[in-house]
Symmetry: C2
Subunit: 254 residues, 2 copies
DNA sequence: GATCGCGTTTCGGTATGCGGAACGCCGAGT
DNA sequence: ACTCGGCGTTCCGCATACCGAAACGCGATC
């Protein structure tokens, strides 16, 4: 392209990038037409057309009445990530039970590339959050994961990602974070007091495999009004520990 | 490529095809190396390398210790398909309840491109089946969907897909299928007696939206030994109708 | 019946994806 | 110690297959 500086990432296959630009655009809004997609992606109409033809031909995108949708064949591929470890599937069931029993939102979260990823969720019908990514330091579940790392690794994380403030309660000071992680290690559970979103509190515990590897974090969250002292520091941690233990047992014995 | 006949599909972007060949290969087996992928895909090593670089750079694939995995960023895109309709998410919860209450495998299935696709499933921990595709005529849930179509559309389906025998019980005769669909329309539920896999029986009912559109099929299945007359024709249909009705109500009122 | 907007197709130039081959590294084998 | 094999990575020249502009055809709308 004749640029002087090229520290922007342009390695690899640019055609593939275009394909995924289109898929990401389809993700944002459903039932999109070709001309919509040209607007959204900035690609030429014929390019969008050719890519969509390829994608529908392979079944990754589905066309209905001129509108395009993400197809279920993509689900099949991506499900590989969610079933990578048997523990993930075991966690799915426990998230559901937890949600039913507590009547709170329940989540199972793992770390990928320094971010918290929702793997399973029980909660609102409209938005499943699954696959969405959040900063580790702003969630109870994220802090649980950080608490498993040694200080060097946490320092690297802070260097790379920073401690962005999501609310006025977000921990943005590294020393405060280290202290918080120590507290979590000591207690065995993490609390999020409106650090990610105003009005939302959460509690989370680590989930271990039978050979003591960290599998992810199991958490429950809800409105601050419900999250009183005894609930946050007694009832929820105990419930969560129970479920985490059950996952571990499931993995150990059938 | 210098072929005489070209009725094979080669429309569109062949680079994108290569990308998805790699993703599909990653789906099959986890933690695969680059050389593994060259073997599996038949592409040259440098091509695989370039594509993987692009995919990891975008976050759709994750590399750990030289092994490559499907990343959660793909989950985020594909989740769009599973949440396309609010009813799908409502069904998720009901599938879970159903599984818990009956202690059978429970599924919610929709049709895409003339195939039955597992959208939600409660059951074994190791294999979630989600996103997998099955012939419509071989499942109770698939037959429920076929029963919603008029005879012309079913005829088109038979023309295009055929009625492959999965077991000795699979309905392979068009007239038998039409008769079976009539029976399903009459009863309001479908039964699968080892038509998909020997030893497995299933029962399924249609799920409708408040404006009487078909959303999908809700089903339960398990070993033939448990699927006695009263269970198959009374208890399970009643339970399934209840759950399907609850989905409908959920969609109508918050 | 004219005009707009859409999906589709054509077409020529060239960027760009391709695979063969070479490199450097590591670990295993003798 | 030296070799050898297998791996990931890089280089490079060629041809191809991807690209965007533009034109086409169709249907709806006024």
């Amino acid at each position: 392209m004749g640029m002087d500086e090229g520290d922007e990432t342009d390695a690899g296959v640019s055609t593939t990038r275009k394909t995924f630009d289109i898929l990401e655009a389809l993700k944002v809004e459903e039932g999109v037409t070709i001309t919509d997609l040209t607007r959204r992606t900035g690609l030429s109409k014929s390019t969008v057309y050719r890519h969509l033809t390829t994608l529908t031909d392979m079944g990754y995108v589905v066309e209905r009445d001129g509108d395009y949708y993400i197809g279920f064949r993509l689900v099949e591929i991506s499900e590989q990530a969610r079933t990578r470890k048997t523990g993930y599937t075991a966690a799915k069931r426990k998230v559901f039970e937890l949600g039913q029993e507590t009547d709170e939102r329940a989540i199972f979260i793992v770390e990928e590339e320094g971010e918290a990823v929702y793997v399973h969720r029980y909660g609102s019908l409209s938005d499943t959050m699954i696959g969405k990514r959040r900063p580790l330091h702003s969630l109870a579940s994220g802090k649980v994961i950080l608490a498993e790392w040694d200080d060097d690794r946490v320092a690297d994380f802070i260097d790379e990602k920073g401690l962005e403030a999501m609310t006025s309660n977000t921990i943005t000071d590294p020393d405060a974070l280290y202290a918080e992680l120590d507290r979590i290690r000591e207690r065995g559970y993490a609390v999020n007091n409106q650090e990610h979103m105003d009005g939302l509190c959460g509690v989370s515990v680590p989930v271990y495999t039978p050979d003591d590897e960290l599998l992810g974090a199991l958490g429950a969250f809800g409105p601050v009004s419900r999250f009183k002292d005894e609930y946050v520091h007694e009832e929820l941690p105990n419930r969560l520990w129970d479920k985490a233990g059950e996952i571990r047992v499931t993995l150990a014995y059938g």
